[in-house]
Symmetry: C2
Subunit: 205 residues, 2 copies
């Protein structure tokens, strides 16, 4: 399974650069999801990451297509309130485009529109979505039957719950506070990374 780290918009760009620097070799992708930061700050963060040798192919820009274009970043993640996948795909066929989805219908539409993957959530109860009933893991099984593109799971995922997502055949997991709010992001990412590398058989033993 793929492991995706998603920044939690709770740190300075220097703290973030440090945390990402310590985990980037353990994860497949790092989403820069810093809604409260200015474009100027995000560009500064991307510069810091480049200086630290973080592979640009691993960095996914959340929402801001313009930042991805101007920094020549190949990955863009579009939340459901963002730009339409279809238009972005038509205008920028070279980009890897992801979409957040909350149902099987949204997932099917995203694939039809040209998304390269969907990010489904939220799977479990999480403080980030307090008061909201999770959409649940079972939907992943249904989505997997319909979609060719990968589906990644998000929302309340702990290392103990990874096996449930593996059994539902999720192609990966996305972790926000589990890594970025951790006292030791490196250790947390390492644990998740190991869980992602276990194969389904070992997991069931």
């Amino acid at each position: 399974m793929k492991l995706i780290a998603i920044s939690d918009d709770s740190h300075t760009i220097y703290e973030l650069a440090s945390k990402i620097s310590s985990i980037h070799h353990l994860v497949d992708y790092i989403h820069i999801r810093e809604k409260s930061k200015t474009v100027h700050e995000i560009l500064s963060l991307l510069n810091l990451l480049a200086q630290q040798g973080v592979n640009k192919e691993k960095i996914v820009i959340h929402d801001r297509l313009d930042i991805a274009l101007l920094t020549d970043n190949p990955n863009i993640h579009l939340p459901s309130h963002s730009l339409p996948v279809k238009q972005v795909r038509a205008a920028y066929p070279h980009l890897r485009i992801g979409r957040s989805v909350h149902s099987i219908d949204e997932a099917k539409q995203s694939e039809a529109d040209g998304a390269d993957y969907v990010l489904y959530g939220h799977c479990f109860e999480t403080n980030c979505k307090e008061g909201k009933v999770p959409n649940g893991v079972h939907t992943i099984i249904d989505i997997k039957k319909e979609l060719q593109i990968p589906i990644f799971a998000i929302g309340g995922i702990t290392s103990e719950r990874v096996h449930q997502l593996r059994e539902a055949q999720a192609n990966g997991i996305a972790i926000m506070s589990g890594i970025f709010a951790s006292d030791n992001p490196y250790e947390s990412a390492l644990i998740f990374s190991k869980k992602c590398q276990e194969n389904a058989h070992e997991n069931k033993i």
Copy 2:
């Protein structure tokens, strides 16, 4: 003098569409500056404006270059925390690019970077920048001596103050709450529009 209306991020997209619809023929440009709205909402607003026959050439997208690109809008305004003018100019030479500035140095840099105009402020005390000391009108006179590109003034401009900006040789004025927080945006825009059309000589009489 040019008249620019800047949306104040305090209305629904339907209210905005209605207000803009009533004033668009009176103003030279309308900045869509809706920081708290999602991209999806802004795209919906732009659709409404297109349906109402608002000339796209008058619409200026604030900050979100990606929205301007995907909607084929020719105008982008970049606040100082946004994308660098130089990079946007290099990548998208066809765009009309504006920059917010607060000093003569920023204004000169913006022109050197390829901006088509600068928006200077804030000129007078305004509730939008409560507690902040205005940068003042006198700087406009200095900037005018250095810059070839137009300079538009913003911040606390009332119809009674337009003549001060004309005397400082500002090329236009940008009005936010004076139009969008008005009980009658049409009437307010009409008053500002008349003030902008008065010539300097008449104004002094």
